[in-house]
Symmetry: none
DNA sequence: TACTTATTTAGTACCTAGTACTAATAGTTA
DNA sequence: TAACTATTAGTACTAGGTACTAAATAAGTA
């Protein structure tokens, strides 16, 4: 006289955990009116890890995504850098960088790459972006690798003008002119 | 003969957990060369919850952010939004956002806030930043809260021009003019 | 130097949310 | 009725803690 079939319970279980992954085996047992052991056998069959593992997994994902948005001093991997002259960096567009709907990279990631590179090029402890004029030439899609190349075009006192062009393969996807303000220490002490 | 002072150990602890929140008390005890009890007293004093609670908290945040899809798309907390008209969002400058040396926020975080807001305002599934002209008016420091206010100034066909001004208290710190390209579905089907 | 306080360590009982296992019972079916 | 599946019960054990008591070890101060 099995009240509800195993299959049905399994469905219910999956659904319940989808709605609230923080349910313990005890909670699930109550919901399904079965013993805790039954729930554990069910999880085994369905390959559902225990509560603590589920939670840990979610936390790790969260942690990783925080990482990708708040990285080190430079956003992107610098592969070449001539201080006060030029530089190149790479980023690969990952899941976290794109709009869900259309898989297109959010513009500020491309900007972050360019901005980081511009500031990194300036040979100073106190370099800040003053202004920028940027253009997104074509959308960048998930999985594409963006190569940003920067070079200093002018240097007038504390203002340094840097041109940045970002390419995917041979196609230009982003272009920017950055005006970086450089407050050198010896200037400060004068 | 306390090898390392309590204060120093507390700092080390905070830093370690910031870098890796998945460390158990045992791990921390090893790193600091103290007993597990000392670590637990330290956590008490510093108000740091146990590993499982930390993990759970992160998982809950992740879960919440997955639930509400819209805010995930936006960098910053949107506190007001009138589609196709105006919007406001807030970000607080945290440790991760600043240069270590001078505690000044990296420009691309301010840009990310503005860019997200600009795209969010446009009432379309397919809104992409086409170009932007931005100015960093004064440096923003650690702990400051940035209020970005955006409003649509022009709409010509698929191009929408949005002005954004970001303030800390009453001071303008950032200004930008964004040109967002909006590919509406009915336009597509024509 | 002796007293006092702060800091650190040790150890116990208990908790949750499990795993891994054995054994028994209930219900169904050939 | 025997065989099988599904379910339940119960035990031993685990990690990573809490909450507590007690003791040992500095360190500061009168």
């Amino acid at each position: 006289m099995t009240r509800v079939s195993k299959k049905e319970r399994h469905k219910k279980l999956m659904h319940a955990l989808n709605g609230d992954p923080f349910l313990t085996d005890g909670d699930l047992a109550n919901r399904c009116n079965v013993s805790i052991q039954t729930i554990r056998l069910d999880r085994m069959e369905l390959g559902i890890p225990e509560l603590r593992e589920r939670i840990k997994h979610m936390a790790e994902e969260k942690f990783d995504s925080v990482r990708s948005l708040a990285p080190e001093e430079v956003y992107g991997e610098v592969i070449d850098l001539q201080l006060d002259h030029s530089g190149t960096s790479i980023i690969e567009i990952m899941e976290d960088h794109v709009f869900e709907r259309n898989q297109i990279a959010r513009g500020h990631y491309l900007f972050a790459q360019a901005n980081s590179l511009a500031v990194a090029i300036v040979n100073s402890d106190l370099a800040l972006t003053k202004s920028a004029d940027i253009r997104f030439i074509r959308p960048v899609k998930l999985g594409e690798k963006c190569l940003a190349h920067a070079h200093v075009v002018a240097k007038k006192g504390q203002h340094i003008q840097i041109n940045i062009e970002t390419k995917v393969m041979d196609e230009t996807v982003f272009h920017g002119v950055f005006d970086v303000y450089c407050l050198e220490e010896d200037v400060l002490s004068k």
